[in-house]
Amino acid sequence: MTERDKLIEVVEEDPPLPEDDRSPLMRLGLTVLRFLSAVAVPIVAFIILWLSFEWLRQADVNRGVIVLVALGVGVGGIFALYWAMDYAVNRMPEEWRESVRPWVFVGPALVILSIFLLYPALNTIWLSFLDGNSDKFVGLENYGFVFTDDGMLRAIRNTIIWILVVPSASVGLGLGIAVLADKLRRGEAFAKSLIFLPMAVSFVGASVVFGLIYKYKVFGAQTGLLNGIVQGFGDEPIAWLSQEPWNNLLLMVIMIWMQTGFAMVILSAAIKSVPDDILEAARIDGATEIQVFWRVVLPSILSTVVVVMTTMIITVLKVFDIVFVMTNGESGTEVIAEQMIRWFFRNDHNGRGAAIAVVLFLAIVPVMWVNVKRFRAEEAIR
């Protein structure tokens, strides 16, 4: 009997977790403890961080030192926190440990999310039943507006087209680039960096960049590339961004340009994690590179493709800056998120803005459903 077999035997001889023997009191204590362990982590973190910041605020020292201390507290603090919580869990009664531990792992994430996203989301849902100044309860009036207003209907139509075009284009291109770049012997990092570059351009930068391409001037020489090309062919320059409905496509190009880098990086990481031995086995069996891609690589990264697609759909649902900066939502280029910001911040009608936001929340329900099914299927086979 080897060392390891002995170990296995020891594990197997251990009595099963006393799940059923627990008294009601103990179960209650367990629940309280779970709750505490989830909440205590962020609170302890908060107090420590708060104290150090109180000090930082009063300290009359060089900015560089403050920044260094802040870095130390922020980065070191979060690691120390989890270590300390695990230490505490290990000191608990043995039968409690394993049922408390998951909550130490997910607790901080849940607390932070509750405060920073769940609370605002609930707040938004509440606002969507109130009037423009959030004073009076108006029932479903704002939702009636969402589905009858001309601008909103155009926005819904456009958003559907965005969802159909942008994620598939970005993911397709990103996947293609990731696969091709993976095959290069040299220059992979270089090629990927160039595709990644647009991601690093801020939205202001992107608007300047595409101004250089779509710009139309009534007088003087054209400074937009497209009009330069058109003029080169001897045609009249075109005001690209007011050509309905094609201007929507031009805006989508900007989004694809910026987001393909995201798809590429994530998918590239997934492709690299496909085990080499499987690929080798397929090649030895005489599969061509295309067969290897379709039958081996793609099935093993399929869940990542779904993840990237989902992320893209949600990013597209939330897109508004491109529309704001390039066309200001004119010439039939409205999208849902842009309408939301417009009603909430520019027209100061909180109720309508919030109702549009709630429609956005609901739009991803089918996407999430697909995801859940995928995850369940995946866990069943791993």
């Binding site: 531990r101 994430a109 405060i115 996203l117 091709l180 595709i195 590339l225």
Partner: protein, 384 residues
């Protein structure tokens, strides 16, 4: 006449692409194909020639943009007709496919090149002519040098407080990247490998929160930060934390967490279960498994999320402005640059230079994290 020139240009472009392709395939160390290569090259001529002729014909009836589109469609149709499925398959399997990578990269680069050129030209020239005009100028003509300037860069870098803003941006961006990754990695591990009640429900809720727009969160959070107001009620919040780095870190952590949990859960959940099981049999606790096994194995996923989170935080203006306060001593780079372009856009000509300066660090981060995207971390793990 112009049309003939265009036709000639298309031929020359085709030949150039083929030549570059030949060289590139050699350079990239790709083994040369068999006779397929020549077949494909010859077959490629026909669609290109016919497409060019179609373009000239279309030009009589249509504006140039439409004619070009139609001609491209014709080219594609003929290409399909000539070789059918076999033609496309040959194209795909061919080393020339590497060339398509080059083509995409070049296409992707065009807008950035425009930005780069504009960032080095004087205001008057940028407004007067398109950036591509530099390609048909001879550097030997008189006055060629006058259009170039470094002034935009020196103005941006010399802006009041720029150095300070850079430090502040680092102090915001680094913890705002590390904290969400750490929190998300622990949560993702628990969601994939630990048993507890409501696991699926919680996970779906977390990912569902992806859709909450940041802008909807700003006002309620600002109220919470400054006066402790929660759902319209005041709470005994310890102290207004607005204006501290922590306020921004926590906000960025909150906004970045759903995506981080989602991406990392996908990666960590797909690691082979035999790995985790054998570690458990060897007596490792979940904490040990996470630190010794999961983190090293997830480096590509961690690195790719780190890049994006860093990027978003670095390019963010809104969150920093709202939660950090916007005073000069705590202003971040994006804020310094936004102030620079002037309230009425009178300094818009500085934007290209500013965009390049703020891009530099994220691109450097991307390059430095490249080496973590390596193949085969889990190779052989399954056998163990």
């Amino acid at each position: 006449m112009t049309d003939l020139l265009i036709l000639a240009a298309i031929f020359i472009a085709w030949l150039a692409v083929a030549a570059i392709a030949g060289m590139a395939t050699k350079r990239m160390g790709v083994s040369r194909g068999s006779t397929d290569e020549e077949i494909w090259f010859a077959a490629g001529f026909l669609p290109v020639i016919l497409g060019g002729i179609a373009f000239v014909l279309f030009r009589f009836a249509l504006p140039s943009a439409l004619a070009l589109t139609a001609a491209l469609l014709v080219t594609g149709a003929i290409a399909w007709g000539v070789g059918g499925k076999g033609f496309l398959r040959r194209m795909i399997s061919h080393p020339m496919v590497k060339v398509s990578l080059v083509v995409i990269v070049v296409l992707w680069l065009i807008p950035t090149v425009g930005l780069l050129v504009s960032s080095f030209r004087t205001k008057a020239v940028v407004e007067a002519e398109g950036w591509w005009t530099i390609f048909n100028q001879s550097p030997f003509t008189e006055g060629w040098k006058d259009q170039w300037t470094f002034d935009h860069y020196t103005t941006v870098l010399g802006a009041r407080n720029f150095g300070n803003a850079f430090l502040n941006s680092l102090a915001v961006a680094i913890p705002s990247t590390v904290i969400p990754i750490t929190v998300a990695a622990f949560a993702a591990y628990a969601f994939s490998w630990m048993e507890f009640k409501g696991r699926y429900l919680l996970f779906v809720a977390v990912v569902g929160l992806l859709v909450v727009p940041l802008q909807m969160a700003l006002i309620p959070l600002l109220r919470l930060y400054t006066s402790g107001e929660f759902f319209g009620m005041s709470t005994p919040f310890p102290h207004p934390i607005n204006g501290t780095y922590m306020a921004v870190w926590l906000a960025h952590t909150g906004f970045g967490l759903p995506l981080a949990v989602y991406l990392l859960r996908n990666y960590i959940g797909s690691l082979p279960s035999s790995l985790i099981e054998s570690a458990q049999i060897d007596g490792a606790t979940h904490f040990q498994i996470f630190v010794r096994l999961i983190v090293p194995l997830s480096v590509p996923a961690l690195a790719s999320f780190a890049i994006f989170q860093f990027l978003w935080v670095w390019n963010d203006l809104l969150v920093a402005l709202v939660f950090l306060g916007g005073t000069p001593d705590v202003s971040v780079v994006t804020q310094a640059l936004a102030e620079l372009s002037g309230q009425y856009g009178q300094f818009e000509h500085l934007l290209p230079a500013a965009a390049f300066i703020s891009m530099a660090l994220p691109v450097a981060v991307f390059f430095s994290l490249q080496r973590y995207f390596v193949r085969g971390l889990t190779a052989g793990a399954v056998k163990g």
